[in-house]
Symmetry: C2
Subunit: 199 residues, 2 copies
């Protein structure tokens, strides 16, 4: 074994010891609240990846899409037909499509009622609240009530919330927060939303 | 309609006009190279969400997991059995597990050969190269050759690359780059990797 490889091995032995120790310290199980926020591409996709992972472990999953109204997306076509996955498209489109604040509020509150049933039912191992942050940030839902409901959910239930500009209070309640920065986006180079990638 | 609602409607009419115009400008179709990097949770999950979306559009998908060696993950159990999805677990574990640089290089080069077959075949609409950045950053693969192969792939093929510390050259080649910041992670609070969320 040459010098380079010996140094590599020694460095990796030390790294393994550190990592093994930190894995041993992380020994708790609980239902997680994850928040995926920021302006970059990948928030909803990431939630849907966790839907796939959960289905692979035969966990029961519920998904609420709060803003989307179109029902021709790849995610719904694929995940909506899976055993153990309940998929709800609850939106009227983005708020600049409806142009009616009253209609948006009615739609949001109906959607939240659907979510509340899942958040009260320990049979759901994972609940995805896709684009929930917009409903909170526009004041379509009462943020305190939403946070209370999230905090009171079954202890082993995972919840993933997506959307831009997650509030500090939501992030405080969360176990894991990822902020996705938009370093570069194909859309700004004139490329339209692509099937399989964006919808 | 009260004042608040009228102002909302006027604002949303202006917003809709701007957004419709920018959507009209983005009229190109092409195979995208997406890079999901940064230290936060959600890079691989996001790639797997796009796998689900693509399968929903009956697109053919190939996935290469370059570092993972375990084959008990939810993602493989679920996506690996889907029609139109070819799933390869190509790793020996993280490099601090093998502790052998020579073995890591052999494994990386074998994995890259599998990826190259997909990257030369227009039948694949989406190719996921999960955790590829580590192989580049450790020098296990020749970065120039990898970038040349990515650039020369079929023009309508989408590719998603995940992993920390994506190089500037890789980001330059990409159409979309998202950097996922680790604002907060449950692992640091002593919570172990959770089925359905992390594996």
């Amino acid at each position: 074994m040459n010098d380079h490889n010996q140094r590599h091995q020694a460095r990796m032995e030390r790294k393994k010891a550190l990592i093994d120790a930190s894995i041993a310290r992380a020994d708790q199980e609980k239902g997680l609240l994850l928040v995926l926020t920021g302006n970059g591409k990948g928030k909803s996709s990431s939630a849907f990846g966790m839907v796939g992972r959960s289905l692979g472990h035969r966990m029961k999953v519920g998904v609420c899409q709060f803003l989307k109204s179109r029902t021709d997306t790849g995610e719904e076509a694929f995940f909506g037909q899976q055993t153990n996955c309940e998929w709800h498209v609850l939106g009227d489109g983005f708020t600049w499509e409806t142009q009616s604040r009253e209609q948006d509020i009615t739609t949001a509150q109906h959607g939240w009622e659907v979510a509340c049933q899942m958040l009260a039912d320990p049979a759901y191992h994972l609940v995805v609240l896709d684009e929930l942050t917009y409903l909170l940030n526009y004041g379509y839902l009462n943020a305190d009530q939403v946070l209370d409901t999230l905090a009171a959910r079954p202890p082993m239930q995972h919840v993933v919330v997506t959307g831009r500009a997650a509030s500090p209070a939501l992030c405080d309640l969360a176990d894991t927060v990822s902020e996705i920065a938009d370093v570069k986006h194909a859309f700004r180079s004139g490329i339209q939303a692509q099937k399989g990638i964006d919808l």
